[in-house]
Amino acid sequence: MGVEILSNALRVTALLSGEIDHHTAAAIRMDIDSAISAQQPKTLRLDFTEVSFMDSSAIGLVMGRYRLLQAWGGQLEVVNLSDRNYKVMKLAGMQSLCMLKRKDEENESD
């Protein structure tokens, strides 16, 4: 449960896993923020492949990272969402803040 961070020159990728709720979001947020604040990447990718549950705390997590990236004009990608979580992100209007992709949709590689 939590987050694994991978980074290269252009992009930080956060591989999220397990359940994202208000309880677990705090630690996930801290890990992502310390990685991106140091590097100020052009792109932050949040990978939801291994996320088994999420509630609106995950939407807050996406919104908060979007705001942080604004400080240096970084972009946000939210990828590998299950059909269900894709629907929730759309319901929340996240497609206007970032690129949303479902599982099986192709991701740009390096």
Binding site: D21, H22, H23, D55, S56, S57, G60, L61, M63, G64
Partner: protein
């Protein structure tokens, strides 16, 4: 209408209990033979209501969260989540999508999520006394269309 089976529990408003609350409620509701999707719907809605008790109702303290679940003959599940916290002054405004009194990491979408995953959501609240959220969902279940 009378419930054919009921469950009650009281939990302290600690964030570590969020996952226990949603798993316990959905495990009880499993008696109605819901689909995986319906289980996820209930889990998500319970997570929202319980989190609201923790972050909003009892912001600086630990209080009790009272959860009641009723199962009905027709396949309905009713979940009631109650706190004795600060209460809500304007319920209509609180339920509007994107409205939040906390900002920061909160999206203001908890009630919108509850309403999208459950058939009916009712909120009663008295400022200074507490809030009760009651949610209904008709379980169509795995047997749907086969008998």
């Amino acid at each position: 209408m009378k419930a054919i089976n009921q469950m009650k529990m009281t939990l302290e408003s600690r964030s570590v209990n969020e996952s226990f609350a949603r798993v316990a409620v959905s495990a009880f509701a499993a008696q109605h033979d819901p689909t995986v999707e319906e289980i996820s719907d209930i889990k998500t809605a319970v997570s929202e209501a319980v989190t609201n008790c923790i972050v909003h109702a009892y912001p600086e303290t630990v209080g009790d969260i009272y959860i009641w679940v009723g199962l009905y003959e027709n396949g309905m599940v009713r979940v009631r989540i109650k706190d004795k916290g600060c209460g809500i002054i304007n319920i209509k405004q609180a339920m509007e999508p994107l409205f939040t009194t906390l900002g920061g990491e909160r999206a203001g979408l908890g009630f919108a999520v509850m309403e999208s995953f459950m058939d009916k959501v009712r909120v009663r609240s008295t400022p200074g006394k507490g809030t009760t959220v009651t949610m209904d969902k008709l379980i169509k279940g795995r047997c749907d269309g086969q008998g």
